[in-house]
């Protein structure tokens, strides 16, 4: 019997798009179409590039575009990686190796019916996805993408920063924005007027408030080592010394990593959208572009979290022998930018790998990990780092590593001696008294 829906025309279009040559030619043509006017108009806008007010705005626009595109690519990467870990191929129909799948997904989201269920709290229902996306996106403002850049036509010694805003509260801004991120999820869960969504929102609230604590503690340890809260200065210090802070503070990095998982609502901490228990959690009632905004927000959150971790622990744009703080040429800037993106991409892939490896925690386990695991560890780490700072040894690699090792050994001893099982299965419930019949 002949398939009606998979006819010759469809097949022909599909096969054309699946030809890598076609894709390369299309990319070149589109790229040229964008670059030629940029190149021709260059003399008219080049003063914008050297202006300390307009350059951050240009950086903001470009980065917003890059991040939104990268979230789309993230979704493809996630689906591909998920398939590979499960011995599947993943999307491979649209375009060569499925590369055009994000466009197809986006088109699908636009064309889907946008349902607003009856009895929802309409203003909040509309507001929630917007908040989720915005709070995930504005975190990018403080990321020092590629250090300083000196354009050839600028006066000698002048530079502009490839950073949207150089705030003197730096990392605190990140914490503030992150703490606002919970509103999108909570309000989405509340406004849906649905018990499952509501539980999702409740879980997200408790989880995010809890995990902000160890996150703050671990970040403080790093700030104690660096002595500044400005991310660009933190990156500059790491680049000039060549020592990334992950070597000084591996435990702090581990805590921040776990907390970023929790803050971004990623497996194993995605209890707010636990499919098995809560249907879809806070986004059960959302469809079309509103759902897409939640979706984009989640991935933007991952990219922001990764970028912050790269800046704090992995030297930002620094790579030994490839980039240096003294190199302010625009070629150097491009190299730095790519180094930064490569590190962020590695982190994002790690996030995805973990998602397809570890099952979700139970909620009491989640809370136990935070309050009985990470918070004491974070406090101990902060105290240890403070002692190092008081002794003036915070930039002594062996002293820092020794402190971390002592903490690790103490943790091991604590976990080995503890009689409560990690799963915490009903050990502290009272015995059931059965009344004799």
């Amino acid at each position: 019997m002949k398939s009606i829906l998979y006819d010759k025309t469809t097949q022909a279009i599909e096969n054309t798009l699946r030809n890598p040559l076609v894709l390369i030619v299309a990319a070149l043509v589109l790229g040229a179409a964008a670059l030629v006017p940029l190149w021709m108009l260059f003399p008219y806008y080049r003063w914008l590039l050297s202006d300390p007010f307009w350059f951050p705005i240009i950086v903001m626009g470009v980065m917003l575009k890059v991040i939104l595109t990268s979230t789309a690519v993230c979704i493809l990467a996630e689906r591909k990686l998920a398939s590979f870990t499960q011995d599947r191929h993943g999307p491979n129909r649209v375009g060569f190796w499925g590369l055009l799948q994000p466009m197809a997904d986006g088109l699908k989201f636009f064309l889907k019916e946008d349902i607003t269920p009856a009895n929802v709290d309409k203003p909040i229902f509309m507001l929630a996805p917007v908040l989720a996306l915005i709070t995930a996106l504005i975190g990018f403002a403080i990321i020092p993408w590629a250090g300083d850049v000196h354009w050839p036509w600028m006066p000698e010694g002048e530079v502009v920063r490839t950073q949207v805003a150089s705030l003197n509260i730096g990392i605190l801004y990140m914490l503030a924005v992150g703490s606002l991120g919970v509103y999108g999820i909570v309000l989405g869960g509340y406004a849906s007027n649905n018990k499952y969504s509501f539980f999702g929102g409740m879980r997200a609230t408790a989880q995010m408030i809890s995990y902000e604590l160890p996150l703050g503690l671990a970040l403080l340890s790093v700030l104690l080592v660096s002595g500044t809260v400005r991310p660009e200065l933190i990156v500059d210090t790491q680049a000039t010394t060549g020592m990334w802070y992950v070597f000084y503070q591996p435990i702090a990095f581990f805590i921040v990593l776990v907390c970023t998982f929790a803050e971004a609502n990623r497996t194993p901490f995605d209890l707010a959208e636990a499919e098995q228990e809560l249907v879809g959690g806070f986004h059960t009632e959302y469809s079309s572009m509103k759902f897409a905004m939640f979706f984009l927000g989640e991935y933007a959150h991952i990219v922001t979290g990764s970028a912050i971790m790269v800046a704090l622990f992995f030297g930002g744009w620094h790579c030994w022998g490839l980039t240096s703080a003294a190199d302010t040429s625009w070629i150097g800037m491009l190299i730095k930018l790519n180094v930064y993106f490569a590190k962020v991409a590695a982190f994002v892939l790690f996030f995805m790998l973990i998602r397809w490896t570890i099952p979700r925690f139970r909620f009491d386990q989640l809370m136990r990990i935070c309050w009985l695991g990470l918070v004491p560890l974070g406090i101990a780490l902060l105290a240890g780092t403070a002692i190092l700072v008081a002794l003036g040894w915070q930039h002594n690699l062996w002293a820092s590593l020794g402190m971390n090792l002592v903490l690790l050994v103490l943790t091991l001893i604590y976990t080995a001696r503890s009689t409560v099982p990690v799963t915490g299965r009903q050990t502290d419930l009272p015995e059931i008294q059965v009344r004799p019949a």
Partner: protein, 200 residues
């Protein structure tokens, strides 16, 4: 249930490494990575469907697969159905609609004037095939069943006979058993074995 029936399971004690959780995560990541990079594995497991079908690979059990129905023809080219309504009675989804008429042929009383199967209602359980006394209705290995309208998916007698023509080479008609009216086709004189008495 008595107390002795209850089995009390002790939670296994975890080792120090398991309590720390991290080594176990790394172990899991190792497994995930192994699968991620094993191209051979996924090439073996996954079939690229429209190009590579199970049928094309010879992996489909043709005699067993329950796909689209067909109405068999006897060697004379007549519809084999005798319009006994056994299949529509047996059908749990009530998707078979038959209208019987006086048979123009001497070897049977009735034949189906209309024989419609709603392929969208059908659950492909194969009960009709089990129930048919003359093996006139059969399920074919054809699973590519698509249509653009609901009306298109209600298969009438002509369509079902046409499915027979399309699939008779892949899956020939079973040897039909004897009915009271004699052979309705085929050469075998096998009579269906009565059921073996079931042990209770």
């Amino acid at each position: 249930m008595r107390d002795e029936d209850v089995i009390v399971l002790e939670e296994p004690q975890l080792s120090a490494a398991e309590r720390l959780y991290l080594p176990q995560i790394l172990d899991g990541v190792k497994t995930t990575l192994r699968h991620t990079f094993s191209v051979k594995n996924r090439k073996q497991v996954v079939r690229q469907y429209p190009e590579d079908t199970r049928q094309g690979r010879g992996e489909l059990r043709l005699a067993n697969y329950r796909g689209v129905h067909r109405l068999n023809k006897d060697p004379d080219g007549r519809v084999a159905c005798v319009a006994c309504f056994m299949c529509s009675t047996a059908c749990p989804a009530h998707c078979i609609h038959i209208e019987a008429g006086e048979s123009p042929w001497p070897d049977r009383e009735k034949y189906p004037v209309k024989f419609d199967i709603d392929e969208l209602r059908c659950i492909y359980c194969g009960m009709c095939e089990e129930a048919c006394p003359v093996d006139a209705i059969e399920l074919t290995p054809n699973y590519e069943l698509v249509g653009l309208t609901r009306a298109e998916m209600i298969f009438d007698k002509e369509k079902l006979l046409q499915v027979y023509e399309e699939t008779k080479d892949v899956k020939p008609r079973k040897n039909p058993p004897v009915t009271d009216y004699g052979l309705t086709g085929g050469q075998s004189k096998d009579v269906a074995q009565p059921n073996v008495e079931r042990k209770v």
